[in-house]
Amino acid sequence: MKRQIPLIIVLTLGIVFFIQFFIPSQISTNIYQTTLQWEIVISAFAIVLAIGSLINHHMLKIQRRKPHWWNSIVTLIAMLVMALLGILGRVEGMESLGQLYRTLFLYVQAPMDSAMFAILAFYMASAAYRAFRARSQEAALLLISGFIIMLGVVPFGSLLWSKIPDIAEWIMMVPNMAAKRGILFGVGLGMTATSLKIILGIERSWLGGGGK
């Protein structure tokens, strides 16, 4: 029963909304739009699980005085402060909190976000050195293509040879496009197969152990 009800819901809604795509009426479009809104609401509540898990993880670390536990206090306080400022900052009469929220975003979150991704440049360069050594024909192609694309988007590339940006563009538009199209094709087939398997109840991993 605990597994049957969700499976019936998936089958019914899956078939209804697959058919809905082919019905060009205003009512059908309205149902589609409303359901999209409902989906946004339902999935927004799912963030509660993620936040609950994050709080649980850090509370356990603090309670058990695990190494560097004080950093968990930083995470919890930062999360609470940012969430409250973001929510209360929209309330009338509390606009100053909204201003602080935006400042924290601009001077704390955004710089750390770019810095985190920027340090990846160093790790990618060192990983590339190990992975890109042209030990086979395929690795050599990867190396050459990546190198030309990198040179093609900086002024130094055109200083070396004026045709490099054109070659980089050709790589993007011809062989890269061919590979991406082929992969997209496969992704499309995979998504279609997975959707069908979910609707028909063949794919049941999402039921997890909850239904047992």
């Binding site: 969700p6 590339a128 694309i149």
Partner: protein
Amino acid sequence: MIFSTNPWVWVAAILTLCIFSFLYKENPFYRFAEHLFVGISAGYGVAVYWNNAIVPNLFVPLFQQHNWWFIIPGLLGMMFFFRFNQKTGWLILIPMAVLLGTGSGMSLAPTIQTNILKQMQSALADATNLKLGGWGLIWGIVTLFGVITTLSYFFFSREQKGLLRVSANIGVWFIMIGFGASFGNTVMGRISLLIGRVQFLLTDWIHIIK
């Protein structure tokens, strides 16, 4: 060297340096910045979901437009809270079933249309459009050839030997060039972020670059 007088610029600069300190080795400053980043990002996510998903799609229809149908997604969403109780934990399968059912049903036809039919149509159109003429037409044919050989590499229904093997090997070349291009673009994206950060430190913080 004139330092900025804006305390927030100092905060951003110090946090940036804390994160860059990881390049030397893991240290307490990096760990502090990392935990702060996780907390701030999670809090930001909560606020964004609240302001952009819950308020306009639930509170406004429910309390301002008195559209009582919207109690249903609210209740379905709240069913996720059952996860915190072992006995009622299975009930979260119901909102999940609604999301999966509607999501799968809604995406089925558009996926076939955009990922399969449109891709096929564009690949064929570029290879058969005589108006392009000259190199345009040749590159269109090369692209179509690349798509077919790439697909043949992923064809596992029969053993890859003979013509299929040759085609799959050519497909691997196209895939490798594609991956190299993606890698090059990703590296350049990261480098431009790094330049942005260094520029911030030298321009906004210590005013070396004017």
